[in-house]
């Protein structure tokens, strides 16, 4: 018996590939970014089809949502710097000499060969083969949470997750270091519509973000998805200039960036003793500790993602740069 969903799967798979081609092929950069966002959402849909709601959430919120906003912001900045802000089209931003067709063909042939090899290897691998299923099932009762993905992220492989938060911290430090100066593209004054939208959307986003974090211990969701959704609040505040980062906020921002990583690492170290190694939470306190870590990590992720979107370290704005006087 064939599942009637197979037709949907086939169509979705083909569309994902077609969109990937379109992202690379679209001449207009803005179109490429929009296509990329759609591509990300379609991939998330495919992952939902593969019974991976956590991954679909993370991809939709972080891989597509935050990334899409970052890309749009960068494109806007590039157009501003190169003085192309008034044009409709956004062809390539980098001065480039055309690549000879031969090189492209050679690369494509090379990648085609790789694809073929990977496909053969993939088809030869055991389908639905061995995995961690049994091990996870066995260890779940001692993990302190009910949702397996959360148990893996914050207990079984918490070391990976700590390092992932460290990557985020490294990114924000590097970004603050890289970008300096003030060159910020002007943004329009958002009128009444925005006021109404903000009144509705911001509380809704906060509620959803908190909800995702809260239910992470027993159902799909958790720190990363919740943090990314909460970061959307920061994005909106920054975009609308309802919040303008000031130099005086730098200290607080630094504290918030390291809060999650610091708390995570501190808990991991403090539980050692009495024969326990790092990250080995005492079983009866595991749930409390995991929730504590998740809560603090969520705050850090939200703030860090918003800061990554903002880009620069906050610096003093000279008074002459007032955008509303035009």
């Amino acid at each position: 018996m064939t599942d009637p969903l197979i037709l949907f799967d086939l169509l979705l798979g083909v569309s994902v590939v077609a969109l990937a081609v379109a992202v690379m092929g679209a001449r207009d950069l803005f179109a490429a970014i929009v296509l990329f966002v759609i591509f990300g959402l379609l991939s998330a849909l495919a992952w939902a089809r593969l019974s991976a709601p956590d991954v679909a959430l993370a991809e939709a919120a972080i891989g597509t949502g935050v990334t899409g906003a970052l890309l749009l912001k960068t494109l806007h900045h590039l157009r501003y710097v190169t003085g192309q802000l008034d044009q409709f089209a956004a062809p390539g931003m980098t001065p480039a000499e055309p690549v000879p067709m031969g090189v492209i063909a050679a690369n494509a042939a090379f990648c085609g060969l790789i694809t073929l090899g990977l496909a053969v290897a993939y088809l030869g691998a055991p389908q639905g083969g061995p995995g961690f299923d049994a091990l996870v099932a066995e260890a779940m009762p001692q993990s302190g949470v009910e949702h397996p993905v959360t148990a893996v992220l914050l207990n079984f492989r918490a070391y990976d997750t700590l390092m992932e938060v460290v990557v985020l911290l490294a990114a924000v430090i590097a970004v603050w270091q890289i970008e300096r100066g003030l060159s910020d593209a002007p943004s329009p004054d958002l009128g009444q519509v925005w006021q109404g939208f903000a009144r509705l959307a911001l509380p809704a986003i906060v509620v959803v973000g908190t909800y995702l974090l809260w239910k992470g211990s027993e159902a799909p969701g958790g720190a990363f998805q919740g943090g990314a959704v909460l970061a959307a609040v920061g994005l909106l505040l920054l975009l609308s200039r309802a919040y303008v980062p000031r130099p005086a906020h730098r200290g607080a921002a630094r504290l918030l960036f390291v809060l999650g990583t610091g708390a995570f690492a501190a808990v991991a170290l403090l539980v050692t003793g009495g024969g326990r190694v790092a990250f080995q939470y005492p079983p009866d306190q595991a749930k409390t500790l995991i929730l504590l870590i998740e809560g603090l990590v969520t705050i850090s992720i939200a703030v860090t993602l918003a800061a990554l979107f903002h880009g620069r370290e906050p610096v003093a704005l000279p008074s002459r740069r007032d955008h509303h006087d035009t």
Partner: protein
């Protein structure tokens, strides 16, 4: 034919398209897009590998790994984009 087969081949194709883009694209922003495609392709493989025939629930470990990979990738993207913005500013200053 099962979903894992379809999406597994999808993932490999997406990875390869990203690879072509990363090697050929000249535009800086588009190269970032190409790398993002590669990361989604790799995510597909892990999610597909975790999939089990419906009544059974999938293996949670690869799911956690993909979530980690997504967060790592957004960090790397943010740094690359910051470099692009900074570089464009510096080049614009040099042109003036």
């Amino acid at each position: 034919m099962t979903p894992d087969l379809i999406y597994g081949l999808t993932g490999i194709a997406v990875f390869a398209i990203g690879l072509v883009g990363a090697l050929c694209a000249q535009d800086r922003l588009r190269r970032v897009l190409a790398l993002k495609l590669c990361s989604v392709g790799a995510g597909f493989i892990l999610v597909v590998a975790a999939w089990r025939e419906p009544p059974a629930s999938p293996d949670p470990v690869p799911h956690a790994l993909v979530i980690t990979g997504i967060v790592v990738m957004v960090s790397a993207t943010a740094v690359a984009l910051a470099l692009i913005r900074r570089l464009q500013t510096l080049e614009a200053e040099a042109d003036e």
